[in-house]
């Protein structure tokens, strides 16, 4: 990420999709940008934050996406152009505000919402298509296919928002946000107005029904404006045998597929960039010219369903058509699209004999992959405090012996459901939901429920969503133990700052809001432990489990291993006394590498003993506490040097 104000207008530059979105906002004169980290959206705010000083704008990591959008809306009310960016789950968090904002309308300053979705759930807990929000809240929707288009669409989005006085949604996906392409940046604007909100102007949603009516009219007006843009384009024969209606990355895949199949005389692509409201005129024109339609989009059949409904409305005019897409099984209902999947679908419909891979080659490749490629599971980094935390939780719940449950949450520590976290976590859903679930479980004692409950939450999630659930637990006296895994970072998304770190997006100090202050404010008993000290942590957790009677908090405080790596690293050089190591015998059986599973520990098949992978091990010293033979030794680094 760099200061995007340094780009030279008119000179081609290689930009990531997210950088293009950020640059588009700058060129549109955005003044206020807010976001919460979430892959694949994070680079948008990161870039704007780095450009903030030069551009004279405000870029903020907000505590969650709802507050981010609300803050941006406020700027819009004062006449400043504002933008909020998030991943698909963030749209869920902001949804209540969106559904009211669309009735009240935005302000004189254009307001744009960027949602970066994650088809195939490369880095998410769900695979959710956030385009629904446009239909739900009657908002204009833009779907760029390339970084250059994203830049242009962002600029347009601000203008459109000001025309109709409503929020405009621009939707990206991983393959766009994280791809890089050449594009030509434009000029940055000059002055911006001073923010002012005339007190005689109000933004509220009542009377609701007439304002709802007005909302529909705004959307129709937006459709008229969008029809003039040229973001919807057709390429292909005049009367295609197959019309592919596609949006976003899928439009590019469709074009590539047609080229692969040499089907450019038979198939054409109607690339839609303005996808809501549906471009009625254009659809009528192109539907009339074909008898077969294939819908290519990710992930939900959003256009597919809406256009089929539109078709039904106009069926007498259009006649019988055959529709292909997710409903027909031509393309999958889950996961990303790809050029190969599009090619297979098109070939199937047009009866073209085509195979992505030669069968012989495919069989051989599959066999080799199965035999030679080692299984790679998600894992905590070497030295990760979460490994130590989950170890302590697993051991303590085991000796507690009452079949305790662990309610998990969102962050690196979500991996507690996997072997790296000893599969100890029993539930993971969305930000803060771990505490809500624990709050419910903590009331079931009256029905005879006697399994102790441990809730695990990270420090960033704590501020994002956990606080209301904590108040609920305190107020309704829910019985559970909350473990706050405080590693001083929003690690999973790239070490963005949060209230507990005292840093803000601009890199300058903000007011620190620490976890223990929140606990004190709520009158909760809490203890701070160091997860690297397994015994102390286990004892503290065991004590908390025996206490009962309401919410108890343990703060597991230890800096993220990667952050520690940037701050001078860990203090030890780990070594294994191979004589003492028990290897595969009864008494161990590779406990360190097989059960504890730190990637810094490996088992040497040849010698039958454990070894430290010196490239991977960071020297945190935790494994020395779990070896039954005391064969793992943590030597302080200064001693080693001397």
């Amino acid at each position: 990420m760099a200061d995007l104000t340094k780009l030279i207008p008119g000179q081609i530059a290689l930009l990531q999709g997210n950088e293009a979105i950020a640059r588009g906002a700058l060129e549109a004169g955005v003044a206020f940008c807010a976001a919460y980290p979430g892959n694949p959206s994070s680079e948008i705010l990161e870039t704007l934050a780095e450009s903030a000083d030069s551009a004279g704008i405000y870029a903020e990591w907000s505590v969650n996406e709802k507050v981010a959008l609300e803050s941006a809306a406020a700027a819009s009310f004062t006449g400043l152009r504002a933008m909020a960016s998030m991943k698909q789950n963030g749209v869920n968090v902001a949804q209540d505000f969106i559904c009211n904002l669309t009735i009240s309308g935005s302000g004189p300053g254009g307001l744009v919402l960027i949602t970066c979705d994650d088809p195939s759930s490369i880095s998410s807990t769900n695979e959710q298509d956030a385009r629904f929000i446009a239909r739900l809240a009657d908002l204009p929707l833009l779907e760029p296919s390339t970084p250059a288009e994203a830049l242009a669409m962002v600029k347009f989005a601000f203008e459109l928002s000001e025309e109709i006085r409503n929020l405009v949604v621009l939707r990206s996906v991983s393959r766009l946000s994280h791809t890089r392409a050449g594009l030509v940046p434009g000029k940055l604007p000059g002055e911006r107005p001073k923010p002012y909100w005339d007190p005689k102007t109000s933004y509220f949603t009542m009377p609701v029904v007439p304002m709802h009516q007005k909302m529909h009219q705004k959307l129709a007006r937006a459709g008229q404006i969008m029809a003039q843009t040229g973001f919807n384009r057709y390429e292909g024969p005049e009367l295609p045998e197959l019309l592919i209606i596609a949006s976003g990355s899928s439009a590019l895949y469709a074009s590539e597929a047609i080229a692969l199949l040499k089907a450019d005389q038979k198939a054409g692509v109607l690339k839609l960039g303005c996808t809501w409201p549906l471009p009625a005129e254009m659809l009528l024109e192109h539907l009339a010219k074909t008898e077969q339609v294939l819908f290519a989009e990710e992930v939900d059949p959003f256009l597919e369903s809406e256009i089929k409904a539109f078709y039904a409305q106009n069926v007498t005019q259009l006649g019988i058509k055959r529709f292909f897409g997710k409903a027909s099984g031509s393309l999958a209902s889950t996961g990303e699209n790809s050029p190969g999947k599009l090619a297979a679908a098109i070939a199937g419909i047009l009866g073209i004999d085509w195979r992505a891979l030669d069968k012989d080659y495919a069989d051989k490749a599959t066999a080799l992959v199965t035999a030679l490629v080692p299984p790679r599971e998600f894992g905590f980094c070497p030295g990760c405090p979460h490994r130590a935390s989950y170890w302590a939780i697993k051991q303590t719940l085991a000796v507690d012996g009452r079949q305790g449950l662990v309610s998990g949450d969102i962050g690196c520590y979500s991996l507690g459901v996997l072997p790296t976290g000893f599969r100890r976590v029993n539930s993971v859903h969305c930000m803060g939901s771990g505490l809500g679930i624990s709050s419910g479980l903590g009331q079931l004692g009256r029905f005879g429920f006697n399994q102790p409950v441990v809730s695990v939450v990270g420090d960033s999630t704590f501020y994002h969503a956990a606080l209301p659930a904590m108040v609920n637990a305190r107020w309704n006296q829910a019985d559970y133990v909350l473990c706050v895994l405080d590693n001083s970072a929003t690690a999973m998304t790239g070490f963005q700052p949060h209230p507990g770190t005292g840093q803000t997006a601009s890199g300058q100090g903000g007011c620190k809001v620490d976890v223990e202050s929140m606990c004190q404010a709520l009158g909760l008993s809490y203890r701070i432990v160091d997860p690297y000290d397994l015994t102390a942590t286990q004892e503290a957790l065991y004590d908390a489990l025996q206490e009962g009677g309401g919410l108890r908090v343990l703060i597991f405080r230890r800096v993220c291993a990667l952050v520690q790596g940037r701050q001078g690293g860990h203090p030890y050089r780990m070594q294994i006394d191979q004589e003492a190591c028990r290897g595969q015998e009864c008494g161990c059986n590779r406990f360190c590498s097989r059960v504890f599973r730190c990637p810094g520990l490996v088992f040497d098949e040849a010698s039958g003993v454990a070894a430290v992978d010196e490239v991977t091990c960071v020297g945190c010293g935790v494994c020395a506490q779990i070896c039954p033979a005391g064969a793992i030794v943590a030597q302080p680094k200064e001693e080693v040097a001397a």
């Binding site: 051991q395 085991a398 000796v399 009864c586 059986n589 059960v595 039954p628 033979a629």
Partner: protein
């Protein structure tokens, strides 16, 4: 609770998995500690044995040593272990060379020992004679629950004196001692289940250190034991104020469980205590620790005295030396008392046979 044979769904050779299925998850563990301290897969804390992970080995000591394991059953094991020692099983009291009433004489035992102080005095003598250099005993830990302790001197032995009435997995301490790179001899004071496990350790092919180094086992009479947490909860429910210094079960017809703290002495109805006993104890046929070198218990009708069963030459030598040094006094036991002792032991044997059959 499900029968162990029902709980086992698919046959598995993995030792720890069998231990979990048959014993730990079936609620039959008596926290003797035989499986603890062998490896990091089995944990013991505040009275509870747990095994959160799988070790995956098909051969291993934990299952083989567990007194509660299904295969081979207790009767078969015991027969085999007695045979190894050249003994006949000799129910109901097990094999013995002599039986006495006994009492230790040293004044420093007063107020610290349960009855006659014979266990403590004999173990001290064993240390003194270097029959053993370290003794594994049981003592209340940080949270008040018992745990194994290793001592080398009289002071340490006396600190661990007195009946505890809760399971402390003290064999864990024995396992840890045996894992050390040392050759010094070890002694154990343990319950009947622990004496069985100790004999199994000495006989186990994969545990040569036990055969080499475990030189003396003093067993305690036991009818049943309590889980540490269960006892703690019971005491709290009965309003016992402060940590218990001494427990006792006076002879019938008292039917009470006596608890002494620093400030008070309290009687709890024995029926309430029996409700809380470890379910696994119902499967144990052994009241007098038949596989020990020496077994010691109360002397019916004679407070301050012990019943002493001498079972092996090792035991005999120790007792002879104790008499020679005037450390203990021996008297012929009353025939009535012996009759009652046999009846009690027979009763436990019968109950256990029924419980194993049902299992």
């Amino acid at each position: 609770m499900a029968k162990a044979s029902q709980v086992q769904r698919k046959p598995t050779a993995a030792r720890l998995e069998r231990l979990k299925t048959e014993v730990l998850d079936s609620g039959l563990c008596v926290a003797c500690g035989a499986c603890v301290g062998l490896c990091p897969h089995v944990l013991f804390y505040d009275g509870q044995v747990a095994a959160p992970d799988d070790c995956g080995l098909d051969q291993g000591r934990c299952y083989d040593l567990c007194p509660q394991a299904l295969e081979p059953n207790q009767e078969t094991r015991r027969k085999g272990l007695h045979a190894l020692a050249g003994q006949e099983p000799n129910p109901p009291l097990g094999p013995y060379q002599a039986v006495w009433q006994a009492k230790a004489k040293s004044p420093d035992l007063a107020g610290r020992v349960q009855y006659g102080g014979v266990v403590s005095e004999l173990m001290c003598l064993a240390l003194d004679m270097e029959v053993v250099e370290e003794a594994v005993l049981t003592k209340a830990g940080r949270r008040g629950a018992p745990e194994g302790v290793r001592v080398r001197e009289r002071a340490g032995v006396l600190e661990a004196a007195g009946s505890i009435y809760a399971a402390g997995a003290s064999l864990a301490a024995l396992n840890l001692a045996l894992a050390e790179d040392s050759s010094h001899k070890l002694g154990l004071v343990g319950l009947p289940c622990q004496a069985l496990a100790a004999a199994a350790m000495k006989a186990h092919q994969a545990y040569p250190a036990a055969a080499k180094r475990l030189s003396l086992v003093i067993g305690l009479f036991c009818t049943w034991n309590l889980p540490a947490r269960g006892l703690r909860a019971l005491l709290a429910a009965e309003g016992v104020d402060g940590p218990a210094r001494k427990y006792d079960i006076p002879p019938p017809p008292a039917e009470v469980f006596l608890v002494e703290t620093a400030s008070a002495s309290q009687e709890i109805p024995l029926a309430k205590v029996r409700e809380k006993t470890l379910p696994g104890c119902a499967h144990c046929p052994d009241m007098t620790a038949e596989l020990a070198d020496i077994s010691v218990g109360a002397m019916e009708g004679r407070p301050g005295w012990n019943t002493l069963l001498v079972r092996t030459p090792t035991g005999q030598r120790l007792v002879d030396e104790a008499v020679k040094r005037s450390l203990i006094v021996l008297e012929e036991p009353a025939q009535e008392s012996l009759k009652h002792l046999r009846a009690a032991a027979e009763g436990k044997r019968t109950r256990a046979a029924a419980a194993w059959k049902e299992r």
